[in-house]
Symmetry: C2
Subunit: 219 residues, 2 copies
């Protein structure tokens, strides 16, 4: 049992180190030696847990996907889809800023090689951007059913705008600009919500996030 | 004279080939040999025009910056800043989809290494994203002076939203999705303009672009 726990911990350390090295050097350039050194795990230990670099990249994508699911799935029953969406973007930007696994999984930006590979290798389900895009569009459709989406707003166009903006916030926020990244999310929703929310429901929405549901760490 | 023209043509072919190889392999991985092969120019010829890979990356950034300037500068006196902005986003997305030089200059996405390098090596002026962000914010301020910006809209927040969305459209459109890239720009503005334009000026704006000013190729 203790042995199993230690193995799980080692795998986690390796996945995190791989994500960091992928993000810094890109998947193609990243070496197994650099990952094993970063993780403080011997090359033999690395090979025991992950046969090769592709297996590591797949593990990064899987872990990132699981983390993304904790941000989204926990909100489905929240009752206010637009607020759930606002909250999720705050958490996603925080994650992209501090979690190298989610960052590499999302492919922003030096890690592109890794994401392309995992998206192809692991099927569309591994592509975090697609996973997130579907969820965002689902939230806009839910808001429409709730009567909280402004009339004439297309859930599809709204989802494209929000997903693109958040990808851009991730890319541009990586440069350290305060206009993008986590600190840009509240001004973004202050701008967008008056367009997206139906009259009468704007007042109940909090652009800074409701703080009601915090994402828990995935198992 | 003929000799000078031939030299200029060779430099252009080399810059384009370098941009393509940077975009495909990233700056760090890209080899001089691959660029010279792609351009159909001998290694000696490449070294005659560009001393090293960094000089090539700077030429890519300079050329991309000049192209971006033709999209933006020509519009300053158009008289309707919001329409000028809409038009410029259409042209930028078209350029990102078909011009490898602009694409590599913008650093979307495998070419990040190149952009980071040129942004540092060539000063902030080379950073296309910053150049474009400043222009977008200037357009929103101009719209405000014209009385065409909706009340309560912050030019800064609006610029951040539009710039981030366009970076996201560029990144996500590279995967071939029709929701992003050039075909996503009109639905984007159909969504955004009712929020951004002052009452009374919305009717004069064309989300699909006015088509009045086409970007000319830079010299």
């Amino acid at each position: 049992m203790v042995k199993q726990e230690r193995a799980a911990r080692t795998r986690e350390v390796l996945v995190r180190a791989a994500a960091e090295v992928f993000a810094e050097e890109g998947f193609v350039t990243a070496s197994i030696a650099a990952i094993s050194k970063r993780a403080g795990v011997s090359a033999g230990g690395l090979h025991f847990h992950f046969g090769n670099k592709t297996a590591l990249a797949e593990a990064v994508a899987r872990r990132a996907s699981a983390t993304l699911r904790t941000i989204t799935v926990s909100r489905v029953s929240d009752g206010n889809a637009l607020q759930a969406l606002v909250d999720s973007t705050h958490e996603l930007m925080e994650l992209l800023a501090r979690d190298p696994v989610v960052n590499a999984g999302f492919g922003l930006c030096a890690g592109t090689g890794a994401v392309t590979l995992t998206a192809r290798g692991g099927g569309a389900g591994w592509d975090l951007r697609v996973q997130w895009q579907r969820w965002v569009e689902g939230m806009f459709r839910a808001a429409q059913r709730e009567g909280r989406l402004a009339e004439g707003v297309s859930p599809q166009a709204a989802a494209a705008a929000v997903v693109a903006a958040m990808v851009g916030f991730g890319v541009l926020g990586a440069g350290g600009s305060r206009r993008f990244g986590p600190s840009g999310v509240t001004p973004y929703w202050q701008l967008m919500l008056p367009r997206l929310a139906a009259q009468g429901s704007l007042g109940e929405l909090i652009p800074a996030g409701s703080g009601a549901v915090r994402a828990s760490q995935p198992h």
